[in-house]
């Protein structure tokens, strides 16, 4: 695997793991509160829809000329990545609440227990079905978007697909083993890293698509990503100085990104 191939695998794996953790939390809430049969049907239905989307969009992307593809995908990834990075910096610096899978699980569980049961077609519990379906489909769309764009741009869709499937398999297996939300996963840190990688790849491909040439060609990516990470960490440090007080224990600035693990 080349350097950019490794970066591609890491970016897709981490992004998909984060989304899989979020989907797992919703499915666990639906299954625990309402029953696993309908929740499972929701998961299978969403996976079929996602597979159809990937089957249509994947080949369509490969038909676009590489320059245009890099320009479009670079722009999308840069906007998308900056959105992730913005939220991650705000969370790490204390200006936005941290993503808490335990709290989300409790909220979904309470809502699921209160809802009325309703049978439709072969689904015995429509609420559990739609909750699982929406959770997997919406989080899965992000997985599909990242895997297709990264794979298509790097001409290595199989590698991106393997990274995505590996992340989903790891999260699913761990989730099934413990039957609890994966609150120990450092999700906020992962989101920060994914934001850095999406932003870096977005800049790299966007500039290439706009006919700019990076010094060092592909090797430039190995400089861009660490520089973006350092820049974002610097912004975290600056913003932490004006952060409102948190209810939880004060955490040193150097450990800001590991806050959810403490």
């Amino acid at each position: 695997m080349t350097g950019t191939g490794g970066a591609l695998f890491a970016a897709v794996f981490l992004a998909c793991a984060v989304e899989a953790v979020e989907a797992l939390t919703i499915v666990l809430a639906a299954g625990t509160a309402r029953g696993w049969r309908s929740a499972g049907q929701g998961v299978v239905s969403a996976l079929i829809v996602l597979a159809a989307i990937v089957a249509v969009l994947g080949p369509a992307l490969t038909a676009i000329p590489l320059g245009a593809l890099r320009l479009i995908v670079g722009a999308l990834l840069l906007v998308f990545g900056l959105q992730w990075l913005r939220k991650a910096v705000l969370r790490a610096s204390g200006h936005k609440d941290l993503h808490d899978e335990d709290a989300i699980f409790d909220r979904e569980l309470a809502a699921a227990r209160e809802a009325q049961a309703e049978r439709r077609w072969v689904v015995t519990d429509w609420y559990a079905y739609t909750l699982s379906f929406k959770g997997v489909l919406l989080e899965g769309l992000e997985v599909a978007f990242i895997a297709i764009t990264f794979g298509g741009n790097q001409h290595d869709v199989p590698l991106a697909a393997v990274a995505a499937l590996a992340a989903i398999a790891v999260v699913t297996l761990v989730g099934l083993a413990i039957k609890a939300p994966l609150s120990r996963v450092p999700e906020n840190t992962l989101k920060f890293v994914v934001g850095v990688m999406l932003t870096s790849f977005g800049m790299f491909w966007g500039a290439q698509g706009a006919d700019a040439h990076w010094p060092g060609d592909d090797a430039a990516l190995l400089v861009i990503a660490p520089v973006v990470a350092l820049f974002a960490l610097g912004l975290v440090a600056v913003l932490r100085q004006s952060a409102p007080p948190r209810e939880t224990a004060v955490v040193p600035a150097s450990a800001a990104l590991r806050m959810e693990e403490s």
Binding site: V79, F80, Q83, A210
Partner: protein, 67 residues
């Protein structure tokens, strides 16, 4: 039907653009400048990094002010 189309559009807007539309506008403008400069003899690779250095703190500053 209209409500569903609106919800579909709102989902994709939120999915791609997110909380701050100015970031998307800035990125598109920076790509246009990169393309224009790349047609000259001046190197154009630095324009997107410069755009990120400007737009990310600006967006964060706006978000912090809103809280």
């Amino acid at each position: 039907m209209i409500a569903r189309l609106k919800a579909f559009g709102a989902f994709w807007y939120d999915f791609i653009v997110g909380d701050d539309w100015r970031v998307a506008v800035f990125v598109v403008a920076a790509l246009a400048v990169t393309f224009a400069v790349s047609k000259s003899s001046v190197p154009a690779w630095w324009i997107l990094p410069a755009a990120v250095v400007l737009v990310l703190p600006w967006s964060l500053w706006r978000a912090r002010r809103k809280r």
